[in-house]
């Protein structure tokens, strides 16, 4: 490890609290080339999540060139490689990046299950990796070189349950979740636990499989138990159909959900029945952080569609890396000590840092769909 850089990075980390980001500066890594590996499922079953991630890094590459994203004058690029939603390819890519001699840090993969396969390899070599969408419990526990900038469901759902319960004082709830995916299964478990802890009677639990399209049998069964609230542990494609079909069946219960429901076109896809749905999430597309408004604007201009949370968390990771590079980190050891010493960085997710378990330190936002878009839930 480069001993001399550690105090320097620590000092700069504190300075960053007051230093505005923006115009390109000349940092200690000015003129150097830094190549960051990114593993994303651009094709295959998880392509719908990996593609916005790829988009975000390509936007970041442009923003670094134009100086909008400050890498301290270094030539920083994100090399996005497609893992095709295949665990074997994820592992191969991790090894490729770790051994190519020019990659000091890897971002991704897209899914927690893939992270559980690839991160142990990185952890054994003390190679820095950061997940941007791997929300399952135990991801960062794989080793001291494993970070993530995505809020775990366990950090989001308790607040969602508390805030909605404080407002609606509901007595009963049903939970519906995908039981063949680590993310949605965790969602279902935490919702059930938190609802019970809040004294809510969980009258029914239904499961589905990822890529299901027909939820009417499960919703019909839920409706027969008349719950006040339906908690949805799902990702966007399934969540929109659940909400839409609940509307069709005339179900009036309040809908609540987690990160998986946080996509800008929730309303336009799910339709009028999405009205009033409450979503606990790591990011709000309308948040007034300076870099966020800019990010949403330029992403929309480039791709003809607003960014979702997958894109936002990836762009935030790019901002974190740019910040580390701007402060002189170009090798794997410098990245590690840089990440270790980060206090607070301004990102599209708001000001974030890492806790001692290397999980992201930030607070969830609770959003509600009013008219045709998200606003803060009060």
């Amino acid at each position: 490890m480069n001993r001399t850089s550690v105090p320097a990075l620590a000092l700069l980390a504190v300075v960053a609290l007051v230093a505005p980001s923006g115009a390109a500066s000349k940092g200690p890594a000015a003129g150097k080339t830094v190549h960051i590996g990114v593993i994303a499922d651009v094709t295959g079953g998880a392509g719908v999540y990996g593609t916005p991630q790829k988009n975000a890094y390509e936007l970041a590459n442009e923003d670094i060139k134009s100086g909008k994203l400050d890498a301290g004058g270094a030539s920083l690029t994100f090399d996005v490689q497609d893992a095709a939603s295949d665990g074997a390819q994820v592992v191969n890519l991790m090894q490729k990046f770790m051994t190519d001699g020019s990659t000091p840090l890897v971002l991704g993969p897209t899914l927690s299950g893939e992270a559980f396969k690839a991160f142990p390899i990185a952890a054994r070599a003390n190679f820095p990796v950061m997940g941007t969408s791997t929300t399952a419990e135990g991801v960062t526990a794989m080793g001291p070189s494993v970070y993530r900038d995505s809020l775990a469901e366990s950090q989001v759902i308790p607040t969602t349950v508390k805030r909605t319960h404080d407002k609606w004082h509901y007595k009963s709830a049903a939970v519906i979740y995908g039981d063949d995916n680590a993310f949605t299964k965790t969602d279902g478990d935490i919702f059930t636990r938190e609802l019970k802890a809040a004294g809510v009677d969980v009258v029914d639990t239904e499961t589905f499989h990822i890529k299901d399209t027909d939820f009417q049998p499960a919703l019909t069964r839920i409706e027969s138990k008349h719950p006040d609230v339906i908690a949805i542990g799902a990702l966007f494609p399934e969540a929109t159909k659940i909400i839409q079909q609940a509307g069709k069946l005339g179900i009036k219960a309040h809908m609540i959900g987690g990160n998986g429901l946080n996509a800008p076109d929730m309303y336009s896809v799910a339709g009028p029945s999405a009205q009033g749905t409450v979503v606990g999430a790591a990011w709000y597309s309308g948040a007034k952080y300076p870099s966020n408004l800019d990010f949403v604007k330029s992403y929309t201009a480039k791709y003809g569609k607003g960014p979702d949370q997958f894109a936002a968390q990836s762009y935030a990771a790019a901002q974190i890396v740019a910040y580390l590079v701007a402060h002189g980190a170009t090798t794997k050891d410098e990245m590690l000590s840089g990440l270790h010493n980060v206090r607070v960085i301004q990102t599209v997710l708001g000001p974030i840092g890492f806790d001692p378990n290397r999980d992201v330190k930030s607070s969830p936002v609770i959003l509600s769909i009013v008219k045709d878009g998200f606003t803060y839930f009060h």
Partner: protein
């Protein structure tokens, strides 16, 4: 709730059945499993989306997209099956070439449409048109879909029974060599079979897209394996068997959830299939039912 669940199962089963009759038709005629059927299902749904987005009225977009599916089916046969038929490559090898075509179709769709879910212009499919009839609720869209699926299956049955083309198809299914000796143009009949089978699969894709107002790259993947289960359950090449198999699988899935066993749904579905096959090793409708269709 029971009535609503029965209705849910019926709607689900209708689309399964429509998907499966196309699947089984190719199977009955050529003895091959066409694993690109689900990819054509998806491609047609995207074609309908594009047509509707270009302002074509929905019924016309539906027919146009089904025709796109039919043409893709003919192309599929030329690319993946015809060369192997000439080389007499057996029945397992074409299964793999159809997987190759399915990958290509998926990659092309991704290139054209990207990964985002597409939906038909709302207005046309307003969820507000729900009909409450006694204990059940359904939408005009669901009703239309059900009627369209049943009409197509009845139409197919008529074509197979009462037309010259149908007789040719059945002759080829029964004995390819004898049919050729009797003057049936094999390649043309096979092409017609692929057109019909794939346009039905495509129609099922459009109806699925309309029913959930959602067209996605992987919308074919849940129905692929179920479709396979349905046609085997129904009996090799039996159109009647595929229809009944479709409704059985739709009903079993719905029933599993209605009984509160949603997490065991697929195990129950495949368990039922397994037990029926063990009891009737050639499926419900025997080995060669298409001959008598």
């Amino acid at each position: 709730m029971v009535a609503q669940q029965l209705l849910n199962g019926l709607f689900l089963g209708a689309v399964y059945a429509l998907f499966a009759v196309g699947y089984t038709l190719v199977f009955g005629v050529l003895d091959i499993l066409n694993l690109a059927h689900a990819a054509i299902f998806t491609a047609s749904a995207f074609a309908a989306f594009s047509l509707a987005a270009a302002g074509v009225p929905l019924p016309l977009a539906f027919l146009g997209a089904a025709a796109v599916g039919g043409v893709l089916g003919v192309l599929l046969d030329r690319a993946a099956f015809a060369p192997l038929r000439r080389r007499n490559a057996g029945t397992l090898v074409p299964l793999i070439s159809s997987i190759g075509v399915a990958i290509i179709i998926g990659a092309v769709l991704r290139g054209i449409y990207g990964v985002d879910e597409r939906h038909f212009v709302t207005g046309a499919l307003d969820t507000a048109q729900a009909i409450h009839l006694g204990p059940v609720t359904f939408t005009t869209v669901e009703l239309t879909i059900f009627v369209a699926a049943v009409a197509l299956m009845v139409g197919l049955s008529w074509v197979l029974r009462a037309t010259t083309l149908g007789r040719r198809i059945r002759a080829v299914a029964q004995d390819r060599i004898a049919a050729a000796l009797l003057g049936v143009d094999l390649e043309r009949t096979i092409a017609a079979t692929f057109f019909i089978a794939s346009s039905l699969g495509g129609a099922a894709g459009v109806l699925t897209g309309l029913e959930y107002n959602s067209v996605t790259l992987d919308m074919g993947s849940p129905i692929e394996l179920k479709g396979l289960a349905i046609i085997i359950l129904g009996g090799m090449g039996s159109v009647t068997g595929a229809v009944i198999g479709g409704f059985i699988i739709g009903a079993v899935e719905t029933l599993a959830i209605a009984l509160g066993l949603s997490e065991w749904r697929d195990a129950i579905t495949f368990g039922v299939m397994f037990v029926i096959l063990v009891a009737r090793p050639s499926g419900l409708f025997g080995k060669r039912a298409l001959r008598q269709a």
